[in-house]
Symmetry: C2
Subunit: 364 residues, 2 copies
Amino acid sequence: MTRENSTSQLASGIVTLQDIADRCGISKAAARWAVMSDDDTHVSKQTRERVRKVAKELGYNPAANQAARRLAYRKAGKAPLSYLIGLIVHDHITANDQYFNPLLLGALEVLEAERFGGMVMSSSAFNPSVPDVHLPMVIEHGEVDGAIIYGSFSTMVEQLRSCPQFADRPIVSLISPLPGCSQVVSDDYSGGYALMKHLLELGHRKIGHFFNLAGTPHQLRGNGARQACLDAGVNPDDCLHHLDYNKFCKTIDEEIEIIKNEKKITAIVARQDLMASLIYQALQRADMRVPEDISLVGYDDSIPIVDTSGNNFLTTIHVPLVEVGRQAIALLLRHLHDNTLPIETVSLPVELVVRKSTCTPSQA
Amino acid sequence: MTRENSTSQLASGIVTLQDIADRCGISKAAARWAVMSDDDTHVSKQTRERVRKVAKELGYNPAANQAARRLAYRKAGKAPLSYLIGLIVHDHITANDQYFNPLLLGALEVLEAERFGGMVMSSSAFNPSVPDVHLPMVIEHGEVDGAIIYGSFSTMVEQLRSCPQFADRPIVSLISPLPGCSQVVSDDYSGGYALMKHLLELGHRKIGHFFNLAGTPHQLRGNGARQACLDAGVNPDDCLHHLDYNKFCKTIDEEIEIIKNEKKITAIVARQDLMASLIYQALQRADMRVPEDISLVGYDDSIPIVDTSGNNFLTTIHVPLVEVGRQAIALLLRHLHDNTLPIETVSLPVELVVRKSTCTPSQA
DNA sequence: ATAATTTTGTAATCCGGTTAACTAATATTT
DNA sequence: AAATATTAGTTAACCGGATTACAAAATTAT
């Protein structure tokens, strides 16, 4: 009942459609229809079931022969899913960034849940200063189904689009928006709003902040903060004091000294928790207690800052980074499953986490 | 002078050997010999050069057609390089680990320099608690040329070895050794030695440390430290005091209180800079000045700890993490270029970085 | 000058999956 | 009952590169 050439099993260790066909006494094409397609009219129900059973027994894995599959698809001008996703990250960011790991973690989690193959990170995108930035081969040759970009330049998008093999594949940018891409961001406006609302409700009216720095996220936060002032009937220009301390570890103590002497500012809003940590240390050095002498608010909830009792005590805005990573992959997969899906922005809600670094201002 | 079917150029956007052959008026096989092999006798010098010129003009990229290549190679039981490397990382570690990013950075740097395609990270290795740990498809199916493992279990190696398609590929483990793999580590013994030598030379004779924790690196550091004592004529058992504080943010202040009251220990050696940072904060809370009241030493030089003047002031052992990442890829590539290369351990030298957190003990 | 050998190249087949084209039944329609 | 449509398959021809077997031309040997 079987064909004559039943060899391949040992040759490469890979089970092929021909192996299945041989075992079932049918043709390769029939075997394929039975195993690979659900709604085709090319094979009977009994045969389908029989063949699938054999396929399972033999351990046939359709993805195992990507090579043959890709080659065959080429004729039709199509490309099968590779189950690989490109991950493009700027090296500045990888070097010392608290966001990267949680983002990665979330992304990998969903990738795993969806039984996707993996993520290709490449070094090639890591030197945007070099004029001849070459993309990783796998990406350039379209051997990834799409890409996630974190913290890279917009030129990277153009470059991706200029690869004939990749051009029309979906791209999702994380945290910072990129032109012409779907994106997953956190709701910075609401973050700024919530944070300021909290401080205003506590009674603070002179608040030092680091919002007005370059970059969209901070502008959004600033806008949110101003709106919170307006909604509370407070003039934002009177209330918000931009602290122009810019370079870490250089004049922060002087900045704090001024605040201490002027006795006007009763709360400080840091740009990130990491910055809050540095500010906290400077405040300690200046003998200013948090929150008794001054309130301190972070942003991102990325690192713990412990107080005397060993507890994480920083009031901050929690940015759901792991969730951003998750949603980014989810969004990319949605694009893969439906290539008519338009560019989309997913903005994830942030959460005010009130801990012990904020209280009502001491001087009335 | 050309053949009849010169179609493919537009069909897929990929330049094939046939395209080149057509343009040169020769056969596909001749084109391949001309372009792909150097020492073969199947083609004349003139033809070779002519064909290569055309290939370059047309932009033929032999790696572009991985699919066809892999498929063809299968007949010979061989596999061409995919120019992809698997990166297997344990999720515990990715979640909050200062080592991961620099390691990644170094690895990607060399990958880029060697014009390798990229690195496949996958989620699949991220749940070792799950009994049915499945490896990423790309790795399982041998579509990576080798793998780098960081912080994973030894069962992962067994699992990799049990994939017929991957079994004999090289694996390099980072930082922590793994059985049967080449590895790139930092010289923990020397690190422990150098650090202790420094403290002993300053005059410290009662030193609190966190060495005796589980795991080879710390044992090595402890051994180095003990040897430094012996070489200085000091009894290590008298000198080294194991601090059994174990859980962060719970009893660290108590531990410090004891040290403060007993007035015996004059220096503390932390397990990592991160821990040193927590200890430093606890010391500040306990009104103990560093280094006047007590010296503090970190390990790994991974995070800055700033003093009142804003400078990174922690004396520590610099672990060349970026270099570990670089060397790991370099070692893996060596294995790929020479598959007779035996398993190898590369131990990178560490460096004592003396900053301001150590000085001679105050009480004589 | 002829045979033997090397150089230079062609033709054909395979890798494994996909798919169009075709055949032989069986089922349905008129 | 005959014509038509559907079902259940089979064959064969790709995809592009690797490789072996073979052929023609050029070189060398005898």
